[in-house]
Symmetry: C2
Subunit: 357 residues, 2 copies
């Protein structure tokens, strides 16, 4: 799949089905609007899938893993070896994303986009998908994180992962990430695309101290100065201050929009991917569902840039796709509401005539 | 079950298990605290059930139905016959609560606490539980909604419904309501127990106009003046300005606390029941989980009085138990996290030493 072609074919959702679904939902045997955001979501699912009976039964969370050269600068509270250790935990089924995806009835597809360790054993066993673009990115405080070619590959890889899952019947996608240090490139992407200062977009990630946060802000400032990413060119931003897994996430989202499949976006890192996807194809936002507002301080700004309101606000800041997995149940609920709640007429329930007049 | 005995036996959750669970959760292979409110909830489930492996697999939503004499005063946008029509819809499985409980994997127990229609056909078919205390309450704007004896019966009935479900193996309860006009007694209960003025606690219910809202406020003021409920005596408040289904909900919550089973509280009407339960047995709050913040304007005040933070905020205002059913999935997720996410040691993942020091 070529980026240019995919971008050119991403369309806004059908206005005709949007209106049709809105009218249908107004006839459900409930006080008008009383299921709040579930109704908005049901309407969007109907518009995306162009049916009044949208199904999101078959679900997959794509957890993209990658490492970051910028950890040399001391931006994370955890050592880099945690990235492959957590991939091993995903494979063993003992991580939070396995457990929460299990509750949601979703499979987890783990993709090695560029972990700084040999994961070929898991690839041979068929436990993870490998599209390794390197053993971690370059240190963006000293030069670009990756080449433009690698950035394009990261995006196209993500699109292909989405395509594969859609071909296998997946009706609802979600994104997740694993990569020690990856709140730093995510904050840098937000700064580069929005023009906001590093201090406004940087947060405490996995839990760094005041001092380490000051260092992180300086590192992001340096990375932006050294690389001068072009805000009008999201591929350039990804290449200079991004990450392999963040590019992969952006690609999954573009692939979902291309195939008209809704995609639940996890927290801070996934939203950085979503921002890149929006920069490349503004209509892709129609297919994105913001799962939650992360405790990571810059996430609210990211959601603002995306123009999305999150479904949950539970002080999560784990990543892996955990917030997206939790929100998948809300999406399933919205789909079931439009599919199965009876109308006033079907249920034989009297309408509120005054509210209609 | 006698109210006095149940109240006397409700205990706060185990501090020992609370501390033990907190320590255990700190060892999960995630950055400290990064699953936010899921961890708080998991800790509470462990403390309630006195185990590090709390199960909430078997779930039931109790939807209590009743009618209200106060509808004579024009407080609702819907006619009273909608209450039995919606009960018929619950029985047919086509209502929002059936659909959302289905997604949560919960059964729905519908209880006729005092619907103003003959529902004996559904009782004979075993489709609903009947504890009919009357054909609707009295009009509280002219006198007490019910006798003190009926109020006690409503509470004890709710406790018995909880007892029956717990005996059948239910590990997680939720409350819901159906009753045209029932935001008016719910607001009156809040006003009576908290001393807040009617204007502050009354909202638009199923969607009444500005003019109808002014009328509703006057009706609540009149009901409080006519009946003078004693804020120190929740049974008196229930009798004078409550409702049969609201008493039933309070009883379910007390029963849950008595049996040490967590109970998910739905929106405005269920929270009025929870307020009564708290008034009768303050420690019962330990077993309550606030599911969502309703769009009904007084609900935030109710949650404040309860001292509970809701899990969801999706602009719902339907009732039936729909918000509670949606939140049950979050509760299940929290239980699964403590039961199944591996610790750092089990997963072979390096800890963040700085965060520990």
């Amino acid at each position: 799949m070529k980026l240019e072609e995919v971008i050119a074919r991403i369309q806004p959702v059908s206005e005709e089905w949007w209106l049709k679904a809105g009218e249908y939902l107004n006839n459900l045997a409930i006080p008008p609007g009383s299921l709040g955001e579930l109704l908005d979501l049901a309407q969007r699912l109907a518009a995306i899938k162009e049916t009044l009976k949208p199904s999101v039964k078959s679900k997959a969370v794509v957890t993209m893993a990658g490492d970051h050269g910028v950890v040399e600068e001391g931006v994370s509270a955890f050592p880099q070896e945690v990235t492959p250790q957590m991939v091993a935990n995903f494979v063993a089924g003992g991580a939070s994303i396995n457990v929460l995806a299990g509750v949601a009835g979703a499979r987890v597809a783990v993709v090695d986009m560029g972990v700084a360790a040999d994961l070929s054993e898991f690839v041979r066993e068929g436990k993870i998908i490998s599209h390794k673009l390197g053993y971690g990115t370059g240190n963006m405080a000293r030069g670009p994180a990756m080449t433009r070619e690698q950035a394009l590959q990261a995006l196209e890889t993500g699109m292909e992962v989405a395509a594969k899952l859609v071909r296998e019947g997946v009706e609802l996608l979600a994104t997740g990430d694993m990569g020690i240090g990856n709140t730093t490139p995510s904050a840098a992407i937000l700064a580069a695309l929005s023009g906001r200062p590093a201090r406004q977009v940087a947060g405490r990630g996995t839990g760094i101290s005041d001092e380490a946060l000051e260092n992180k802000i300086r590192v992001i400032e340096t990375a932006l100065e050294v690389n001068k990413p072009d805000p009008a060119d999201p591929v350039d931003v990804l290449a200079k201050v991004g990450g392999f897994e963040i590019g992969g996430i952006a690609g999954v989202i573009l692939g979902a929009a291309y195939y008209r499949v809704p995609v639940v976006v996890d927290g801070f890192i996934s939203s950085a991917g979503a921002l890149l996807a929006k920069g490349l194809a503004p209509d892709a936002v129609d297919y994105m569902i913001a799962s939650h507002r992360s405790r990571e301080s810059g996430h609210g700004l990211m959601l603002e840039e995306l123009g999305l309101k999150p479904l949950l606000d539970l002080n999560l800041r784990l990543g892996e796709g955990t917030g997206a997995a939790l929100a998948m149940n809300v999406v399933e609920s919205a789909a079931q509401v439009i599919c199965n709640v009876l109308t006033f007429q079907e249920a034989g329930v009297a309408r509120n005539e005054t509210a209609l007049s």
